[in-house]
Symmetry: C2
Subunit: 359 residues, 2 copies
């Protein structure tokens, strides 16, 4: 019985990608059999890896020439601080849409660096629902509006990304490459690679060039996007192996048919699981408001916490792993990132039906 990995992050990586990564870890013919992890990032061979990773990401996401791509470290939390440092200060205001733990954390860090304000929040309803941002009054001096595209903990996701009359920064850590996005509408997109595009330790950043160039230059060089861009993301030693794994993942996405095909598969997986929840006569109860349900993280509850514990334990015994919800939301969470197959989700659905009939 194969193992199905519903981990919220770091999370499932396609088997083919893991096998290619392990092979390159043992040795790469192009660098005399040395490991991909023990060569300098300054070698032409590795510079080629970085260029191919960027080119593949550009093709997959349709990133226009107006935007630059950076490969950084420090995860989304690092970006919470770095972006505020770059664009706040003085009378400038960072505007935040609060849709859960991570967007709130982004706001909290920005507050320490300048004037940050929450314009709308879903806190009142336990973040089950995204706030209405259709008629938002932006504060004077707004530098940017910050959103979180998918909320891993509560299992909500913007069905389509909102637009604002200000530069839009979006943390897409948990749904990047999972559906088509019009990159040209964003001043900045950032994402940890460890959910949908590789392993932990790499942060993908996509920035509108003109906006990047207008950021502060009186801050440490390592925290200036402009400096990282001028150095092709190699201002300091990059996480070379993590970049290589992301390249392998991106190549694999192209083989699957690109983002449109991946998105169709993600929709099919999520629809099947939500249908199983909704068709369970209340045995399973979805956490998020149906209109704002995430295709990446499906959150649901059972009648009691004891029953939820039993569910997780019996699922583990059936080879379905890492289904326990985040401590802040409780219940069950099934993460269905890009590398999860429809068959994996069908295994879960079959287990849920059998579990229901037993309990």
């Amino acid at each position: 019985m194969s193992t199905i990995n519903f981990s919220p992050g770091p999370s499932i990586v396609a088997r083919e990608v893991l096998e290619q990564a392990a092979q390159a870890l043992l040795g790469v013919p192009e660098v005399h059999g040395l490991s991909i992890a023990e060569i300098s990032h300054r070698l032409p061979y590795f510079e080629g890896i970085v260029r191919e990773t960027e080119a593949t990401l550009r093709r997959l996401m349709g990133i226009p020439d107006t935007h630059v791509v950076l490969f950084l470290q420090g995860g989304a939390r690092g970006q919470f601080a770095q972006l505020a440092l770059n664009w706040l200060g003085g009378a400038k205001v960072g505007a935040y849409i609060d849709t859960g733990v991570w967007s709130r954390a982004a706001f909290d860090d920005a507050k320490t660096l300048g004037d940050a304000r929450i314009l709308a929040t879903g806190e009142g309803n336990g973040y089950r629902e995204l706030p209405d941002v259709s008629d938002l009054a932006l504060p004077e001096g707004v530098a940017y509006v910050h959103t979180t595209s998918n909320n891993t903990i509560y299992g909500t996701q913007w069905p389509t990304m909102p637009t604002f009359a200000a530069p839009h920064i979006s943390d897409m850590s948990s749904d990047i490459l999972s559906r088509p996005i019009d990159v040209s509408r964003f001043a900045m997109i950032y994402a940890g690679a460890q959910k949908n595009a590789g392993i932990s330790g790499l942060t993908l950043c996509i920035l509108e060039r003109s906006w990047m160039d207008a950021a502060r230059q009186d801050i440490p060089s390592i925290w200036q996007y402009r400096v990282q861009h001028a150095n092709d993301s190699m201002y300091n030693t990059p996480p070379t192996f993590a970049i290589y794994v992301t390249l392998l993942a991106l190549r694999w996405f192209e083989k699957q048919g690109g983002v449109a095909a991946i998105a169709a598969n993600n929709t099919a997986k999520a629809n099947a699981l939500y249908a199983a929840i909704d068709g369970s006569d209340g045995f399973y109860r979805g956490y998020a408001t149906p209109a704002h349900r995430s295709q990446m993280n499906v959150t649901f509850r059972l009648a009691t916490e004891d029953l939820e514990k039993t569910f997780v334990a019996e699922a583990e015994a059936a080879g379905l792993h890492h289904l326990k919800g985040h401590r802040k939301a409780g219940g069950i969470r099934a993460s269905l990132y890009n590398a999860m197959s429809l068959e994996g989700v069908e295994r879960l659905i079959a287990f849920m039906a059998a579990f229901k009939s037993r309990h």
Copy 2:
């Protein structure tokens, strides 16, 4: 003919470590055969990995209970900015000993965040020599003195680490674990893992707890060492695979006999190579002042740049890779980090003798 890897960083990793890492990348029995790279850092299994990594590092380096260990991201450059952000501001002064490109870069970033001053520099002699710091006048309000223990580009290294009447922060990116260090004498030690202790993407930080707790708390949480420590280095998703490789490297160091045995081997390797340089009747000329020669990065010149190019090309053809010096220093650089064997260095020495007889 086996390949010998003299790369300055990312650099040589022991074969056994690479093989174990590749195996774990394919699957780990303790987590149902899932890859080490596709499981949550919150699993008890992975928390155990982090605890064992810290415990092994503590044993190897003799880190006392007064000091905490953190596993961070962003490399040494990230620390240049982060440490200054934590301890500068107001009337506080960051004092820097300038021994080359990296210590100067640390100073440059600190300047953007507060009052940073260079107390001594080796710039006047092309960084061949370390400045005399035996009778240094510290400025009023000094928050720390910052040193670089080994200078990768120029090939110099403090024979024994200096002491100061102020908290001492040392960037040991290129010689951590290569020789015994009295950790208790440092307020902070930091090092990228990619030269002596694993692969790129992980930064080791060792901080005196009381000093860490006295740092600024009005800065973004991700940049507070205190917060990272309170969260066992998992305040954000850590670079899980890079941590695992470091654990494998540390276990391998223990098998070699620990830091004392590694240091003896490092001394033997460096002595053999410097003896070959000094015994070449001026055909090879060491760059650094003999008293300040690095055991990690052996830098030398030949009569002309053309001859140096021929040397690098013929060395490559003989399986001796990545010997080209940094563009700022020119010439040849052989990096002999912990995982380099004496046999590897002997191969280089034999090649140097043959090259000399041919040219």
